[in-house]
């Protein structure tokens, strides 16, 4: 039942690390890797069970990217999109299954319920978008896009970049964080007044877990879709 203000932190090389994030992040990374590793064991021309699932996920993420990014630039983002989607999906759902709190402090939960994690990925997307813009159009054309439709648009363009970065990260954080918060509140309610509240809360908790499961999947999808939209926007001359 840890509340978010009580996370274990430590300092290392002058940087603050959040132990909860690191532990749950590691769990999510390992889960993603094990999932992909298990699914890709026997790769044959005629796909078997695991390979079918893996190819379906690859087709799914590639489809999202292809819907936004024009031409053959898509292939450069295939791996990024695939890994990002899987990691976000697993992270979003992780907190629904495992929440470990020791001494009032969370140790394992959804990594994406911390803004610093989601902002890391939105920052990565923003950086990739900038890099690809420069790579495809060259510095001159890339920065000229900030001045369109006219020169005085520049502050708004810069502001838009910043808001894109923030909203992309905070959207997924908000959904997952609030989902976990509500689950915790329902849990507290269940144990507040004995048997009666447990009976009332159990179906609510189940319903909310199911909904969160759905939201987690949707948020992973939305994150990848918006990432590809932002990247695609940098690839064309406005």
């Amino acid at each position: 039942m840890g509340d978010p203000s009580s996370v274990p932190t430590f300092e290392f090389l002058g940087l603050t690390f959040n132990a909860t994030n690191i532990i749950s992040g590691l769990v999510a990374f390992i889960l993603v890797f094990l999932l992909v590793f298990a699914l890709s064991r026997k790769i044959t021309m005629k796909p078997s069970k695991g390979q079918n699932v893996l190819e379906w996920i690859i087709d799914f993420t590639n489809g999202i990217l292809k819907g936004q990014i024009p031409g053959h630039e898509v292939s450069a983002f295939g791996l990024y999109g695939f890994t990002l989607f899987l990691f976000l999906f697993v992270s979003n759902e992780l907190g629904l299954f495992i929440q470990i709190a020791v001494g009032g402090k969370d140790y394992v939960r959804s990594p994406t319920s911390d803004p610093i994690v989601t902002l890391t990925f939105s920052l990565a997307t923003a950086l990739i978008a900038q890099y690809m813009g420069v790579h495809k159009l060259g510095y001159k054309q890339h920065f000229k896009n900030y001045l369109s439709p006219f020169v005085f648009w520049l502050p708004i363009s810069i502001f838009e970049e910043f808001t894109n970065f923030l909203t992309l990260g905070l959207r997924i954080f908000g959904v997952i964080y609030s989902g976990e918060m509500l689950l915790k509140i329902i849990g507290e309610m269940a144990f507040s007044h004995g048997i009666a509240t447990i009976i009332v809360s159990a179906p609510i908790a189940m319903a909310w877990q199911g909904f969160s499961l759905f939201l987690g999947a949707i948020q992973a999808y939305v994150f990848l879709t918006l990432s590809s939209v932002y990247i695609a926007k940098k690839l064309e001359i406005e």
Binding site: L15, F17, F29, V32, L54, L79, F87, P115, I116, T120
Partner: protein, 173 residues
């Protein structure tokens, strides 16, 4: 430095986490690329190529089969035509042979008939010639007998009669 910045009250902006997640994500991407992404996408590409190839080759073999069927049809029609021509040739030949055989037989018969006629004629001629010779011999004989015996008219008459009688018998025979 930035550790005191907060987005959610009470949660420090732990920049170390950012670094940790960035590095871990890159490692994960690399691991997935090594373990799954490369072989799977390669296999998917291979499969796409194979399917395209299969479609092409199927199209090709279909065209080939159609060509073969056409050839067979043509050969069948040809063989029909050939068979009828062989039969009609044989018929014609048979008719010709028959006609020629009949003609040959007819000519043979003609030759045989004419030969027989010729033979008969020849025989008659021979017989006539023999008769003439006989008559001449007899005449000579008679003449010599007449000369030798100084025959009388009666004797001569009787002789000639008897001769002519003999001649007649001779001719009849």
């Amino acid at each position: 430095m930035l550790a005191h910045l907060t987005i959610v009250p009470g949660v420090g902006l732990a920049l170390g986490d950012m670094l940790f997640f960035a590095i871990c994500f890159i490692i994960l991407m690399w691991a997935i690329k090594l373990v799954a992404w490369k072989p799977v996408t390669k296999m998917m590409q291979d499969r796409a190529d194979k399917i395209a190839n299969d479609i092409d080759s199927a199209e090709q073999s279909r065209a080939e089969a159609a060509k073969l069927a056409e050839q067979r049809q043509e050969a069948l029609a040809n063989s029909h035509k050939e068979a009828t021509s062989i039969v009609s040739d044989a018929k014609k030949q048979g008719q010709e042979q028959r006609a020629s055989l009949v003609a040959a037989a007819q000519s043979d018969v003609q030759v045989l008939k004419s030969n027989a006629q010729k033979d008969i004629e020849q025989e008659r001629q021979d017989a006539l010639a023999n008769a003439k010779n006989d008559v001449a011999d007899l005449s000579i004989e008679i003449a010599s007998k007449i000369i030798q015996k100084e025959l009388k008219a009666d004797d001569q008459k009787a002789l000639i009669d008897s001769y002519i009688e003999g001649l007649g018998k001779h001719n009849e025979s």
